[in-house]
């Protein structure tokens, strides 16, 4: 009863909201066991993510190659070496561009679908289930499905385009440096939408029904109602989703690997794929780890920028 015993000491002196809300110092002094609550999360994250990260950081400062025994300290050599390659610049540009396109697309489409599915109509249950389909598939499977869709000879897209007479010759979707990137992007967006839909739907369902009823009377236009009434209520969730999707797009790996293998040329070589290539194709683990930490710095900077650009009350002082 750590929090109960002193709860009434200064009872009428302050408004309740201030005394027990987030940011109130009084609440904290009474709960002396943050560790018990946080340990179950901090411990596994520390052991299975924190320690490996530290190990990878050590690797990035040493020359760790399979072919050369001994692991001498080389300082920032690995970093300098990685930054100097053309591969890095291409992969960096691809990854940033991929993220800039993918994250807003996923969140915008996801929000639109969630908003659409909020009301019931004949068959809405079926559509709600079908929307989740891409979510249940491992990346390798999604990749095969989309290779099949984009297949130059037997794919459905070329088939349809030929049927309506839009094209005569097959378009080499995944073999053309210009198109492959956007094909992978479409497949990636496809795999990420269900999660966005679920979370936005949950956030929409949590909105007070009276707010919506009042809005229905006040705002005739559906778009204005969404912009001024619904959107502020789900903004915190949208910010979380944008950050999460930016991260996923920036670190995605298996879809690209299985769909194009980074090619044609370097058209779809993303940074995460480049790490894999440095480490497991060239057996230069030091360079791979150095690249990973360059990526972490860039990703952290991008996330800070995103959270600045889209202020939310997530880290605010008071519960909403």
């Amino acid at each position: 009863m750590a929090s109960g015993t002193h709860a009434f000491d200064d009872f009428p002196a302050r408004p309740l909201g201030r005394r027990y809300g987030l940011g109130s110092k009084h609440m904290w002094t009474r709960n002396r066991f943050p560790f018990l609550w946080l340990m179950p999360v901090l411990l596994p994250v520390l052991l299975f993510i924190g320690v490996p990260v530290a190990h990878a950081f050590w690797t990035s400062l040493h020359q760790v190659m399979l072919l050369f025994p001994g692991e001498p300290f080389v300082g920032l050599d690995n970093y300098a070496r990685v930054l100097d390659t053309n591969y890095f610049r291409t992969a960096m540009w691809n990854s940033v561009w991929f993220m800039v396109l993918a994250a807003p697309l996923v969140v915008a489409i996801g929000t639109a679908i969630a908003h659409f599915l909020q009301s019931r109509f004949a068959g809405s249950t079926i559509i709600r289930s079908v929307v989740l389909l891409p979510w249940v598939l491992p990346g390798a499977i999604s990749a095969v499905l989309w290779i099949w869709v984009f297949h130059p000879s037997f794919g459905i897209i070329n088939g349809l385009l030929k049927q309506i007479g839009a094209i005569d010759a097959s378009i080499q979707w995944l073999n053309s440096p210009d198109l492959a990137f956007y094909c992978v992007l479409i497949a990636h967006v496809w795999t990420q939408i269900p999660f966005a839909v679920i979370l936005v739907m949950a956030a929409l369902a949590a909105i007070n029904g009276e707010t919506i009823e009042a809005a229905t009377i006040d705002c005739r236009s559906g778009w204005r109602r969404f912009r001024y009434i619904v959107f502020p209520e789900i903004k915190a969730m949208i910010v979380v989703l944008v950050v999460y999707n930016a991260l996923v797009a920036f670190t995605t790996y298996d879809l690209v690997y299985a769909m194009t293998g980074g090619g044609p040329g370097t058209a779809t070589t993303l940074l995460a794929f480049q790490i894999w290539r440095e480490s497991f194709a060239m057996y230069d683990f030091g360079a791979g780890a150095a690249l990973a930490f360059i990526m972490v710095v860039v990703a952290a900077a991008l996330i800070v920028a995103i959270t600045r650009a889209l202020p939310s009350d997530l880290f605010g002082e008071r519960p909403s």
Binding site: M1, P34, F48, V53, A56, L145, A205, I207
Partner: protein, 296 residues
């Protein structure tokens, strides 16, 4: 509660569009799994003239080769033994993902609640630590994680994969759940304090039941993250019989010799169990959401 009035025509069109985009590729896999390659790859033949065949399904479950590969000179390499591992790998994946889901909820929910409702020294730092830890690309962590699991003697056991997947999903579980917990009205918890509930009691008796749909959705997320994770599953799983479905399917997909219809059959079999699970849990989650138990 009606959000807006719509015309049935536009509702139908938008539904059809969503259906085609989300379900289209999966329907193509279903189609590909019931017609043989010679129909799939030939523009003159179609499923209407040749009829459907379940030979590939029969092969995966019983090992009996499709008739067209029994004839002399057939390309035997197009039939891969790896396809026969699919049913067993589904069971492995289901166990791993279910365990990761339960661990995520049990470990993550209290911490999320604590972050949402309490201020304490080091809050921002520990939150940042949890949220930023998934920033590091997994490709760089494969070797260190392998070494740790080797120390713990968990290579080739499902527990190694379960632990890594749990740790990978926990940051997101905490982040998402704390957003939900913050939306619960503060008055409820003030009332609980007046009733002399301690922090743990108000968590178990008030926050948990109210946030149950959200917890269900978050647990589902952890399940899916584990189910589709590939790299750690590949490194930590040992022999063929203990591999999860993502590893088996990737091996099958990279094998360029394999017949398209066999590949599609494997894909479709791999989809079915999770499909059932998602529909079931989705029903439960959506009903909880729509019935308004979390209205703020």
């Amino acid at each position: 509660m009606s959000w807006r009035r719509r015309r049935p025509m536009s509702t139908f069109l938008i539904s059809a569009l969503i259906f085609a985009f989300a379900g289209g590729p999966v329907l193509l896999a279903l189609y590909g799994s019931v017609v043989p390659d010679r129909v799939l790859l030939s523009p003159e033949r179609s499923v209407f003239s040749e009829g459907i065949s379940l030979e590939n399904y029969r092969y995966i479950f019983t090992g009996q080769l499709p008739a067209s590969y029994e004839v002399e000179g057939a390309q035997r390499s197009m039939i891969s033994e790896a396809a026969r591992q699919v049913p067993r790998s589904l069971w492995n994946s289901a166990r791993i993902a279910a365990a990761a889901m339960v661990l995520n909820i049990v470990l993550g929910a209290p911490a999320a609640y604590f972050f949402a409702r309490y201020a304490f020294p080091g809050k921002r730092m520990s939150f940042m630590f949890i949220i930023l830890s998934p920033l590091v690309p997994t490709a760089a962590l494969v070797v260190p994680v392998y070494l740790i699991m080797q120390q713990l003697g968990l290579i080739g056991s499902v527990w190694g994969i379960i632990l890594v997947h749990t740790a990978q999903a926990l940051p997101f579980t905490v982040l998402i759940l704390s957003v939900f917990f913050r939306r619960l009205p503060a008055e409820l918890f003030e009332a609980a304090i007046l009733d002399r509930c301690n922090a743990f009691q108000s968590f178990v008796r008030i926050a948990l039941p109210l946030a149950l749909p959200s917890i269900g959705a978050t647990g589902l997320f952890a399940f899916m993250l584990s189910y589709s994770e590939y790299m750690f599953a590949l490194v930590l799983s040992g022999e063929a019989s203990s591999r999860p479905v993502s590893v088996v399917m990737a091996a099958l997909a990279r094998n360029t010799d394999v017949s398209w219809s066999l590949l599609n059959t494997g894909i479709f079999i791999a989809i079915i169990p999770t499909l059932i699970l998602v529909v079931l849990v989705w029903r439960f989650v959506v009903e909880g959401l729509v019935s308004g138990s979390v209205k703020g």
